[in-house]
């Protein structure tokens, strides 16, 4: 079955067509925001944004630029739909999650528009899988109104270091306290658990720091 961009039978073009040589790039990114079953997909000429929300208080966004895709065409201003993220991930990883050198799953994603399912064409080693996932009405998403001019402190860290820190957090603590400051301790993660309190400090000249812009001392829980 050729993965070609043929117009669907009705003659209307697909609203969204995206091709990726290695579907694993997309699936590993989406897995990072997979804490709820449903996600809202928003495609524009800039790229594809996948948003996952929980109880109107947490929102995670995964954004893949159009340039990452080998082909990315959006017919209208923007295309939005809600989809089951667990199902989407199962389909994207249909050929398995282990990555052998030299093998990769090619992906073509097509969406005809409102009311139509999302079509996925995946190919690996000559075997083709076709998936049709039903889409739903997009939900209203939270707008945190994160105005960039009012930002007081901003830190960009390498995730590997943070991952180790999060893995060691004391889970008996009810809260995680985050302190950011232009003075010592610069960036501190604190927990207050049954055994006592624990502090993880990251100095501002640490190798892990990509960017450190702190103007005021702030402590939040």
């Amino acid at each position: 079955m050729p993965l070609c961009t043929q117009l669907p039978a009705s003659g209307e073009p697909y609203l969204l067509v995206a091709s990726l040589d290695n579907a694993r790039h997309l699936s590993s990114l989406l897995r990072a925001v997979h804490f709820q079953d449903h996600a809202t997909c928003f495609a524009s000429t800039n790229g594809l944004r996948v948003t996952v929300e929980d109880a109107k208080c947490i929102q995670a966004n995964a954004f893949i630029q159009a340039e990452i895709f080998q082909e990315f065409t959006v017919q209208e201003e923007s295309v939005t739909f809600r989809i089951n993220l667990s199902v989407l991930l199962d389909c994207l990883t249909i050929f398995g999650t282990g990555s052998l050198p030299g093998t990769s799953t090619a992906l073509r994603m097509c969406y005809r528009g409102y009311g139509y399912p999302l079509m996925l064409f995946l190919e690996e080693g000559g075997v083709v899988t076709v998936c049709k996932i039903n889409t739903q009405e997009p939900d209203e998403l939270l707008d945190f109104d994160f105005c960039s001019t009012k930002v007081v402190n901003k830190i960009i860290l390498q995730s590997e270091g943070l991952r180790e820190a999060f893995a060691e957090l004391d889970m008996t603590s009810e809260v995680l306290q985050i302190t950011m400051s232009p003075d010592k301790p610069y960036f501190r993660l604190s927990t207050f658990g049954n055994a006592g309190s624990a502090h993880l400090d990251y100095p501002k000249d640490s190798d892990l720091m990509e960017a450190f812009h702190c103007n005021q001392t702030q402590t939040n829980r």
Binding site: N84, V87, C91, I94, V128, I133
Partner: protein, 228 residues
């Protein structure tokens, strides 16, 4: 099926009677598996059917030891001896008159696909034709997924009188299909640790799927009936 000549140095057995020279035993596979795990680094293994207080399969494993005397670990596995009147219940089903016979794709790929499909649906449709094409399909309210395998090849079957077992004038493009419990298929595939020498399946449309896996000198057959 394991041929005794290929595996055992010594083999002694006497059945119920001369015309019925077989013994049917029922046991818990976990017990035998555990005993055989002990035998992984064994010098020798001896299996005996004994009847001390109750029938047991005694597996005596001689393990290598540093001292001159050898170490023997014995597992007594309780077994049930099946009386002759019930032997018919356990008769191996014969190869059915299938509609299509086809070689299976690379088991690793099939295993990955079926494992993912198991998350999405309880049943799976296997369909294949005599042109070497096989499809695995699932369909639910949420999603439908079809995986297409091509160029698999169809094994040549010949019945006693030399004619092929499936209908000779069957349209090569026409698919034979059966809907089966996906968990059973996934268990079958998960159990395959090594790549078999030959792996094929026979499909009787809407009735049963028969899998045959051949390793050097061992054959495994699975019959999975179609769901209503």
């Amino acid at each position: 099926q394991i041929l005794q000549g290929n595996f055992f140095d010594e083999y002694q057995m006497e059945g119920v009677a001369r015309e019925h020279n077989e013994i049917y035993l029922e046991l818990v596979p976990e017990n035998l598996a555990r005993a055989l795990k002990t035998a992984q680094s064994a010098k020798a293994v001896k299996m005996k059917l004994t009847n001390k207080h109750c029938p047991c399969l005694r597996v005596a494993v001689e393990l290598p030891s540093l001292s001159s005397s050898s170490r023997i670990v014995t597992h007594d596995i309780p077994v049930g001896v099946i009386p002759r009147r019930l032997w018919n219940d356990f008769r191996e089903p014969s190869v059915p008159d299938f509609d299509v016979s086809i070689y299976l794709p690379v088991l690793k790929t099939m295993k990955s696909v079926v494992e993912r499909m198991k998350n999405l649906s309880n049943s799976i449709v296997i369909e294949a034709n005599l042109s070497g094409e096989m499809n695995l399909k699932i369909e639910t309210d949420l999603v439908s997924v079809t995986t297409h395998f091509k160029d698999l090849g169809n094994p040549p079957w010949a019945s006693e009188d030399g004619c092929p077992s499936s209908a000779p004038d069957r349209d090569v493009e026409s698919m034979a299909e059966a809907r089966i419990d996906i968990k059973k298929l996934q268990q079958l595939l998960a159990g395959q640790q090594v790549n078999p020498t030959k792996a094929l399946c026979n499909i009787v449309s809407k009735r049963i799927v028969h899998f045959i896996l051949l390793h050097e000198d061992v054959s495994l057959q699975y019959f999975i009936p179609a769901l209503a």
